[in-house]
Amino acid sequence: MKEFQERQDVLTQAPDALLAERAADGDVAAFETLTRRYGPLMRAYARRLTRSVDEADDVVQDALITAWTDMSKLREGTAVKAWLMRIVANRAVDAGRRRKSHGNVDDHPEAPDNMPTPEQLAVAGSQGAALNRALRGLPAEQRRCWVLKEFGGASYEEIGQTLGISAASVRGRLARARTTLVKEMEEWR
């Protein structure tokens, strides 16, 4: 048990690149360490990109299995965090598309009341709560662009690829989202 603990400590301190290399070579423990390191970030991201916490959890689980399978395709181990986030984004958008094409249950796939509630996201602080509310009020396409940019750190081109639109449309949607959000934040203040 002590040995196991020490082993976990060694891996916990190991840099992303080493863990990615070992995971690509089939080391489950290294991949688990990456999962523990970035899982909460991936989950937070997925929750903002999907319409329910359950869907977000499915997206993260799927994304991790994809990552595990494709690990050897990752060229730069140092880029593993951005790579994981990109997989989550693509999975989340796919999940939305699947829901639309199969979803006869619900004609409003992006209905804001299906977004994670503030309680589920437990947003601390009233300004955070105000931003959360303002985000929920945005059209889905704008909200996605904003989350991909602000939470995922993606470029216009990457966001465009994920959403299947041009980089120019991304730039426009992002500007509209920001205009609305800044205005609502200022009104709130």
């Binding site: 070579d25 423990a29 688990e32 999962t35 899982g39 937070a44 996201l121 500007a175 920001r178 205009t179």
Partner: protein
Amino acid sequence: MNPTESCGRSIEDLSDYLETGISTDFVHIENCPQCQARLAGLRSLGALAQDLLHDDIATASEAGWLDSVVANLRLETRAGRSIPLDGGALDTLTETEGAVIAMIRAVGDSLGGVLIGRCRLAGDVTVAGAPVEVNIDVSTQYGYRLPTVAQELRSAVLAELLVHSDLNVVAVNVAFTGVRAPLDGAVDEGEPQ
């Protein structure tokens, strides 16, 4: 001049300026009160977004959830070839190559100063009794004597495989692929020279 009239600069341009710090229009932007006010708005929105992300991450970090994700992953992870175990004439027992490699890694990682990289079983492991070589890439921490480390690793791996597999291991080949600087605060039980 009408003070509510827009100076004509778009939020797109101001966002790009905020992100890159570059604009052909920076003389105007830096001197226009309207642009400065909008930049301030964008800046505080950006800061608020990072706060929100931190709150979201804190909420998403339930230990129970991570454990269940990791447990599911274990079911999905590649198992490799099937290695026969001697279970007597009436039984077909096997263990997976993935499990054996994981065992070798665990042994290596628990030795002081050693981190296993690539690990492979060479030979037809699916045939009982066939000769098998274990090839291990190792990076060590600075300060360890490599022949000693190699010998310790070899005996530890052999001992483990003898107990937990029926592989006919004819060699454990250790290749040193790198030397790492000591980790901060890491305590080693081996004997740095």
